[in-house]
Amino acid sequence: MSLMTAHEALDQAVAEEMHRDARVLMFGEGVATKRKHLLDAFGPQRVRNTPLAEGIIAGTAAGAAATGLRPVVDLLFAPFLCFAMDEIVNSAGKLRYMSGGQFSFPMVVLTMTGGGWTVGAQHNHNLEAWFVHSPGLKVVMPSTPEDFKGLMKAAIRDENPVLFFMDMALAFVPGEVAEGEVFVPLGQAAIRREGTEVTLISYAKTVHTCLAAAETLAEQGVSAEVIDLRTLKPLDEATILASVRKTGRAVVVHEASRLCGVGAEVTALLSEQAFDALKAPVVRLTGPDAPAPSSYPLEQAFTPQADAIVQAATQLVARSPEVAPIW
């Protein structure tokens, strides 16, 4: 085991994959400057700075991926994805299908999202559901340094375009990462804590909020299971369903806004396929339908907190009729 941040874990994953496969390269705004050790190790052909032009960065990645390279591009902050939507959604996501399978798009788009750095709405916007909704793309959003490493390696080796969201609050928090090969297959959720009475389902930083809530719930005599989705597409439906069939109750927690969010999908899945097992309505705790504020207390208020999760879970277990979402 060694202790490292998510940021370091990502770097390690990219470096190991670049060693393993000469077709892997990385580019983006300041990539060669900020990841100088990659530049030193692999040279300027494979580690490149780009102009501040997200459309051409993503389009170049798509063109390169279609013709034999395996690019990882850093688009910095998630709102900048808006500049690259055409290339990611219309090209990378669709051209494999439209060409009748003639071309594949093995590329990774790395981007930062979520509250924690008080950077405000034009640098912080949880857009993951947009990409879940787009055919041809895969979406990951890890919560631990080990998963950052293992999922990045899986994303680089995948033959499809993968959107890799880094929740900013997690970037510099150290965590244990196993020695040797760390590889987390796409599409497998993790059960972070076992429990029997209610399932807390989340991803990225709110997984940790759920774990804190589960501690408190345990002190209060309520046994909560915590699921970390890790990959939002493909979604590990089996793990979600098995857990909720066991506990009969679910609270879905994420920072992105509620309407058409990933939580809506999980909730629908439970109503379609685990309806008989449900002992109470499924509850979603999410961020509001508002741009992310910059001021620290507002940013904290934006993100679901452990207290609200404890309250929702307690009410579900008590079958209180007053269960209501916070937003």
Binding site: G55, G59, A64, A66, M98
Partner: protein, 320 residues
Amino acid sequence: MHPSRPAPTRLDLLGAMLRIRAYEEKIVAFHERGPFPHVCTSVGQEATAVGVVSALHPDDQILTNHRSAGHLLARGADPGRLLAEVMGRSTGYCKGRSGTLHISAKELGVILTSTIVGGELSLAPGVALSRSLLGGEGIVVCFFGDGAACEGIFHESLNLASVWNLPVLYVCENNQWQAFVHRKETMVGDHIAPWAASYGMDSLTVDGNDAEAVLEAATRAAAQVRATRRPFLLEAWTYRQRGHMEPHDQSYVDPAEIQTWLAKDPIARLEERLLASGELTREGLEALRADARAAMEAAADFATASPYPDPSELTAGVYA
């Protein structure tokens, strides 16, 4: 020219243009009988397609836009498989997944037909980056219109290709129109080629209705890209003889403009040259036209007889 391939003769150029025209006429005929998918034809732009594509080597790669039939046919695409794709049949180049607007043909080095105007410009540097890093002599040709040149991605693409020394031959087919808008309404100046200078790139404007002139210019431009591994912008000055898409409608176009350009029809021009020089007789010309038409009849028969994809394949191939 490529050592392994002789330069095309003037008769080759004419034959290729006649085939493209016959293909588009077949599409128009299908439309008139309808119902048929909307298609953007390249009638009037045959010289650009044939001139540029004839200057390429087999290992060069092509990205193009919605008016791609000429480029694909000039590259040797089978008209039957093209028509089948347009008609949504499983024998099409993309198994009926693409339709008319996004045909790619990997075996011909045609990476992309983009119907997102400018999409081809966004992918071109990446394809060329693969050429640079994975080796090989090939270059990448990117066809686009004057409309696409007015988008931000054009500038992003040229800038990056130049900064990164990528072997891209950008070919702007300035056909005067951007769907239903004349370029004069939306563009500064008449020409795209001079814009290349801002990106440290050489450029050339050529009469896009003169197949021989296009072949010569494209051969020079491609040779420069091959030798320098740097991008180059070639602008072909040409005209879209039909409406933006089928069914044909040019009611919004000044009739005098249409007449001026019909008088410069690229096929008629080469035919006259060949007849005048004695390289071609009237009968020989008729035979060439009949060959082209017969090939398209056969293509149409193949396409119409081809099966549709099975609905059970609807979601096959979204992911690798």
